[in-house]
């Protein structure tokens, strides 16, 4: 006997189950935001969910004390903090922004990435809520704007430059850091003669490769050409090709460690930061976070005092301003809804001088977004980096953040391939032209 009606029975059961599921209202999770007052600082109770990347000490502890202090000052606002490891945001943010209750405050790296997230319609426009105090942050705030409106607020700044080991420089007979590429190359030769790897590079992580090419582009391209290229997502200007030529010539001098294409930037024994920390390489082109990374990678307790910093050297004949730097930062965005005023107040609190000082001193986040807090920097290398950052003619955001995420990632990949010997100037320039990865 054929059960010819059985599939129909099953189908009905399935349809019924799905209908029931679809009709049930979504329950509120334990971290949903509740209604808030219409004006900031009023008496209605507000709970904000906060997704930040401070999942380990010391940053974790600093954020926790910030939450407690803010709550003491604003008893009607409770902040529920949820630290998430940095890399996981790539997976979680698109999903969160599609959900019914995304976090009220979340980690934001600005630039084109922010612009991509902006299309979700869930980012809150903070221009008017922050208008009273955003000028304290100076130029830094521009990196977190979309179409001139403030959709995110930075809490720290980063600048990229060369970290070097003073002891290894001394060993190779280098008396002062190089200021031009030619000097850098001759210093590399001296280091090699002394049996030292000149520069460590985390090619396996892709983005450290990008720093080199992007700095050559910043040196070769004038500010206006650079900015219009970023805006138009088009790198056909000749200065970019020149940057590739500079990079090729530089790479021909073999300044990096063997097998750099698989070396990761910061994890583990053989990372590029680890090589620098353990004296197996003399220099690394990295952001100011290097001082937070390096201590964990070596048993040398004095490693921080051994490190010096110098800006990316000059390139002869380049149209870029000599003091321009490659920069970035970390910040937060608010999501639209009743929590916006409280969110903006919280971000203002984070950018206030005392909190900024705490972030710099205790958490070692790098350079503060609020330059008034820079006075607490004690490390001379970091002070040098901060000075270069502040006195720069302009700050160029790292390209993979400045471009929309799609094109920025394509550029990183093209550059990493180029470093691995599989690419050309065309692949680099054209990487930002197509929209999906072919």
């Amino acid at each position: 006997m054929r059960g010819s009606r059985k599939p129909a029975i099953v189908a009905t059961a399935v349809a019924a189950a799905l209908t029931i599921a679809a009709c049930s209202s979504s329950s509120s999770s334990s971290t949903s935001s509740t209604s808030a007052s219409s004006s900031s600082g009023s008496s209605a109770k507000v709970t904000l969910t906060w997704w930040n990347n401070g999942n380990t000490q010391p940053l974790l502890g600093v954020w926790q004390s910030v939450v407690a202090a803010f709550h003491a000052a604003h008893p009607n606002v409770t902040i529920s903090m949820n630290p998430i490891q940095s890399d996981l945001f790539t997976t979680k943010m698109p999903i969160a922004l599609k959900s019914d209750n995304p976090p009220d405050i979340f980690q934001q790296w600005g630039g084109g990435q922010e612009a991509t997230q902006y299309t979700s319609g869930k980012l809150a426009n903070l221009s008017s809520l922050a208008s009273g105090w955003i000028s304290e942050l100076g130029e830094a705030a521009a990196g977190w704007q979309v179409n001139g409106e403030q959709y995110g607020i930075p809490y720290d700044q980063h600048v990229v430059g060369f970290w070097y080991r003073k002891d290894l420089f001394a060993k190779a007979g280098i008396t002062s850091p190089p200021t031009t590429i030619a000097q850098l190359e001759s210093d590399d030769a001296k280091l090699k003669a002394a049996g030292i790897t000149p520069i460590s590079l985390g090619g396996g992580s892709r983005w450290p490769d990008a720093f080199y090419w992007e700095y050559f582009a910043v040196r070769e391209c004038s500010e206006s050409v650079l900015q219009s290229a970023i805006k138009a997502v088009n790198m056909s200007a000749p200065c970019f090709t020149q940057a590739t030529k500079d990079l090729t010539a530089f790479m021909a001098t073999n300044p990096f460690q063997g097998g750099f294409n698989a070396t990761q930037a910061q994890t583990g024994a053989g990372s590029s930061a680890g090589l620098l920390a353990n004296g197996k390489a003399a220099m690394e082109l990295q952001g100011d976070w290097e001082t937070s990374v390096v201590p964990a990678l070596t048993s040398d307790k004095n490693i921080i005092s051994q490190l010096g910093w110098f800006p990316f050297p000059q390139v002869p004949g380049g149209a870029g301003a000599p003091t321009a730097v490659l920069a970035g930062g970390d910040g937060f965005s608010c999501t639209t809804g009743a929590s916006e005023p409280a969110c903006a107040e919280f971000l203002q609190y984070i950018d206030s001088t005392p909190v900024q000082e705490e972030l710099v001193q205790k958490a070692g986040v790098g350079l503060p977004a609020n330059s008034a807090a820079e006075s607490v920097l004690t490390n001379p290398a970091l002070q040098a980096a901060a000075k270069a950052h502040d006195t720069a003619a302009y700050q160029a955001e790292y390209f993979d953040i400045a471009f929309p995420t799609d094109q920025g990632q394509a550029l990183d990949t093209a550059l990493a391939n180029f470093f691995a010997g599989k690419g050309s100037n065309e692949t680099i320039i054209n990487s930002v032209s197509s929209s999906s990865g072919h």
């Binding site: 054929r2 599921a21 401070g54 698109p94 999903i95 969160a96 583990g268 937070s292 964990a296």
Partner: protein, 293 residues
């Protein structure tokens, strides 16, 4: 282990030594090969376990050396960490629910697909097989939205139920041939005695299938224990994290506490390995039916 073996004529058991003498690799050479395999398999894991007794700084400065000094703080910190024990509890709940559901529903479905004839049976079977072929990561976003709709977000069951669903294909595929191999005569006898087929299923077939059920149970448990993407997508609060997610706590934006990661992973493996040791004999027996059925 299958009932079919019982029907072979009993012969006096041969002495093992005959078999051993007549294989093409002598006994000492066999031991050598096995030791080599053991070394290759175990050495990396030993490296990890021993690395947990080191500090990250040491591991980075000298990755090839033994810990000097041996540090207990990593393992101690894990044993006293409430996050770790919470994650263990979460992992256990999720894995037990997922495994229980998968084995229960899977055995019922396998019974239907193996011992009933009906139109569309092979279509249903193929439907389950198709679930194996689609990578999970793309389905993560729609799955998340679905879970949100039914209110299972940031909820242990929001992970356990989909895990059970994804374990169904494997379960059914292993159980079906094994259930088929149970002779029809047993079923006939049961029917004659007045039992329904469902009764036969519960009282006779399932007990006979116990090795296979344990097999699929182990597989489902280990898969759930190590699952990473689904919990990552579903859980937003740390106190719901399962063990693979909790490892991420040892990695910050820029650095990784490698020694802690090793120690944590070494300890995380213990429950899953314990389950395997406990059930490994039945594991071997269970798969026999799948092959011969």
């Amino acid at each position: 282990m299958s009932a079919a073996t019982a029907r072979l004529p009993r012969r006096p058991p041969r002495r093992d030594v005959i078999r051993d003498r007549r294989t093409w690799l002598s006994l000492p050479a066999s031991y050598l090969v096995i030791l080599l395999v053991l070394a290759i398999t175990i050495a990396p894991m030993l490296y990890m376990i021993v690395g947990g007794f080191s500090t990250t700084a040491q591991l980075n400065a000298n990755p090839n050396a033994l810990p000097h000094p041996w540090v207990w703080s990593n393992y101690a910190a894990i044993a006293t960490s409430s996050i770790f024990w919470q994650a263990v509890a979460n992992s256990v709940v999720v894995a037990v629910v997922a495994t229980g559901l998968a084995v229960t529903l899977g055995s019922m479905a396998a019974f239907a697909l193996s011992r009933y004839t009906f139109r569309g049976r092979e279509v249903f079977y193929l439907l389950f097989v198709a679930g194996l072929l689609f990578p999970l990561n793309t389905a993560a976003l729609p799955l998340f939205l679905l879970l949100q709709q039914i209110g299972l977000n940031d909820n242990l069951f929001g992970v356990a139920l989909p895990e059970a669903a994804f374990a169904l294909p494997v379960t059914i595929v292993i159980l079906r041939p094994f259930m088929r191999a149970i002779p029809g005569e047993l079923e006939d006898a049961a029917i004659v005695d007045g039992a329904s087929r469902i009764r036969f299923f519960l009282r006779i077939l399932l007990p006979l299938s116990r090795p296979a059920l344990i097999t699929v149970g182990i597989l489902a448990f280990v898969t759930s224990w190590n699952a990473y993407l689904l919990p990552l997508v579903v859980f937003s609060s740390q106190d719901h994290y399962t063990l693979p997610l909790a490892v991420a706590n040892f990695q910050s934006t820029y650095t990784q506490d490698t020694a802690r990661v090793y120690a944590f992973t070494a300890v995380s493996m213990i429950p899953a390995l314990a389950i395997f040791i406990f059930a490994q004999r039945k594991l071997v027996g269970g798969l026999v039916g799948a092959i011969r059925g």
